[in-house]
Symmetry: C2
Subunit: 275 residues, 2 copies
C-alpha cells in the first residue's frame, strides 16, 4: 500500500533516528478521514491536537499548514486516511525537555481500511480483552504515541471474524475498544465511558456527544454493557459501527445507532471504499 | 554532540517514518555504558532485551551482531553510552501485529552525561515527583519506548541543582527515580521496590541484587524512604549515586553505598569523564 508523505513540509519518507517520538513516544497523532478534499471532522481533530500539544508542552503546528500538506498528500485520492504525527523533535539523550524544541510533523495519506457493508448494516463481532488499561490521568484522553497497551490488546486475538475488543480498566470499568470509542443504550439512555483516567477521547466520540447531548458520560461497568439494548463504536476513520455480538450475546442495531449513522452520512462521509 | 549510528547494520541517521517504534512506541531500548571497547554489563543488557522482546513478541536481534555494531560506533571513544533501540519495524496502519515482522535496530553511540565528582562523593539532591506512575503489569519492568510518564516527570523541575525525582505509584509506593532505580537502607536492611506493576527493572539494579543478595525487594512507602539511613540510585549509565537530600532531609553516603561504588569500580567502570 503506497503512502504519500510530507515531513516538515517536504516530500520524504524518513525521520531522524534521534527524534523523541521514536526514543520515548514523545508526541501525538491524529487519524483523519478524507472524502476527496473534504475532511468533515478536521476542526475537531485540530482542536484535540492543539489541546494535547498544550498538555504535553509541545509547540503546536500551524493548522493551516497541516491542511495544505494534507491536501497535497491526498491529491487525487477519492478516499483517504491522513495520519498527522507531531513529535517533540530531535533532542539530546535524556527525558528532560529540550530548551529550544523543534517539533517534527509527519503528514501521511493512505487508503482507508476495508470495512464490509455488512459491518455497517448488521454490526461487528467483539470480544473482551484480557489486558486492563492502566490509569494515568495526566495522559488520559490524548492520542499520544505511547500505544503499547493497544498493541498488546489487539495481539490477543487473530480471528478475522472478530472486529474489535472491549478494553476495561483494572476496576472492571469499560473504557473503549482498541481503536474506537464505545457507546451503549441502557434503559433508553445513551451512555459512554468517562475518559479522565485512561483511554483516548475520540474525535468521532466528540461529534456524537455534540449531536446527542443527552448522552451520559460516566462509569460503565462490563455487566451493564452486556445488558445493553444497543452497542455501537465510533471512529473518525470507520464511522458508526453497530456491535452485533459480544461474549455470546447478540445485539441488533437500534434506532439511535441508525440515527447517528445517518448523521455521519450527512456530515459528508461516504463509508464505501474507493474504487 | 555527534552521535554515531548504525541502522540495521548500515551507517545512517534516519529511520522509516512508518516504523511502529514511532507510530506506537512499539519497541524497546537499552542504554549501555562503554569504557573503551568494554561494556561490563553487556550480558545483563542482552538478557533484558531478549526477555522483553519475548514479552512483546518482537523477534530479538542477534546479540553478536549488536556487539559488532556497538564496537563500530564506539571505535576510538574512551567513554561512551550506546543506545540500542529495537522496534517491531514498519507495519501497515493499525495496532495488529504484522504477519511477517521485520524488526528494526538502531545502535547509536554518544558521549556519557557529565556527572560531577561531588555527585559520587557527597551525593545528589532529589525531589518527589507529583506524577504517579500508572500500573500496567504487562509492561512493568521493561525498558520499552512508551516513556511519556518519565518525560512528564522530568519536566516537573528545571532547577539544575536537583538531579533526580522520586516516582511513586498511585498508592504512594516508591517505584524508582526518573532514570535510575532506587535503593534505601532502613534499619540495616537494603530495600528496593518491587517492579511488577510499574517501573523499569534496571540492569544496574540487577547487578546490585546479584552482588548483595540479602536485598529485600518489596513495597517501599515514601515515609519509609524518608526515614532511611542511606539512599542511593543505580544506573547502568551513571553507576551508584548516593542521595544526599530529599524533601529537606539529609542523608550521608553510608558503608553499603561505598561498598557498591567500589564494586562498580571493580567491574571496570571508571566514572570519570572522557577528556
Amino acid at each position: 500500500m503506497a503512502v504519500r508523505m510530507r515531513i516538515d513540509g517536504a516530500a520524504a519518507d524518513q525521520v531522524p533516528a534521534l527524534d523523541r517520538g521514536l526514543a520515548y513516544g514523545d508526541g501525538l497523532f491524529e487519524s483523519i478521514r478524507f472524502v476527496g478534499a473534504v475532511a468533515p471532522l478536521w476542526l475537531r481533530h485540530m482542536r484535540r491536537l492543539s489541546e494535547s500539544c498544550e498538555r504535553l508542552r509541545i509547540p503546536a503546528p500551524d493548522a493551516a499548514q497541516l491542511w495544505r500538506e494534507a491536501l497535497e498528500v491526498t491529491l487525487g485520492m477519492p478516499q483517504a486516511v491522513v495520519r498527522i504525527t507531531v513529535t517533540r523533535g530531535v533532542g539530546a539523550r535524556g527525558y528532560a525537555l529540550p530548551a529550544s524544541p523543534r517539533p517534527m510533523r509527519v503528514v501521511a495519506a493512505s487508503a482507508p481500511p476495508q470495512v464490509a457493508d455488512s459491518a455497517y448494516a448488521q454490526g461487528v463481532r467483539m470480544r473482551v480483552c484480557d489486558i486492563r488499561l492502566a490509569e494515568q490521568p495526566l495522559l488520559a484522553g490524548m492520542k499520544h504515541l505511547n500505544r503499547l497497551e493497544q498493541v498488546l490488546a489487539r495481539a490477543e486475538w487473530s480471528d478475522p471474524a472478530i472486529a474489535e475488543g472491549v478494553l476495561c480498566d483494572s476496576h472492571g470499568r469499560v473504557i473503549s475498544a482498541t481503536m474506537a470509542n464505545l457507546f451503549a443504550v441502557v434503559d433508553g439512555v445513551l451512555l459512554t465511558p468517562a475518559l479522565d483516567r485512561c483511554g483516548v477521547a475520540g474525535v468521532a466520540r466528540a461529534e456524537v456527544l455534540a449531536t446527542y447531548p443527552q448522552t451520559q458520560v460516566g462509569e460503565l461497568m462490563l455487566d451493564t454493557l452486556l445488558g445493553a439494548n444497543e452497542i455501537f463504536l465510533s471512529s473518525s476513520v470507520r464511522g458508526i459501527l453497530p456491535v452485533h455480538s459480544l461474549c455470546e450475546r447478540s445485539y441488533a442495531p437500534g434506532a439511535l445507532t441508525r440515527q447517528l449513522q445517518l448523521h455521519w452520512h450527512n456530515l459528508g462521509f461516504s463509508m464505501e471504499q474507493a474504487e
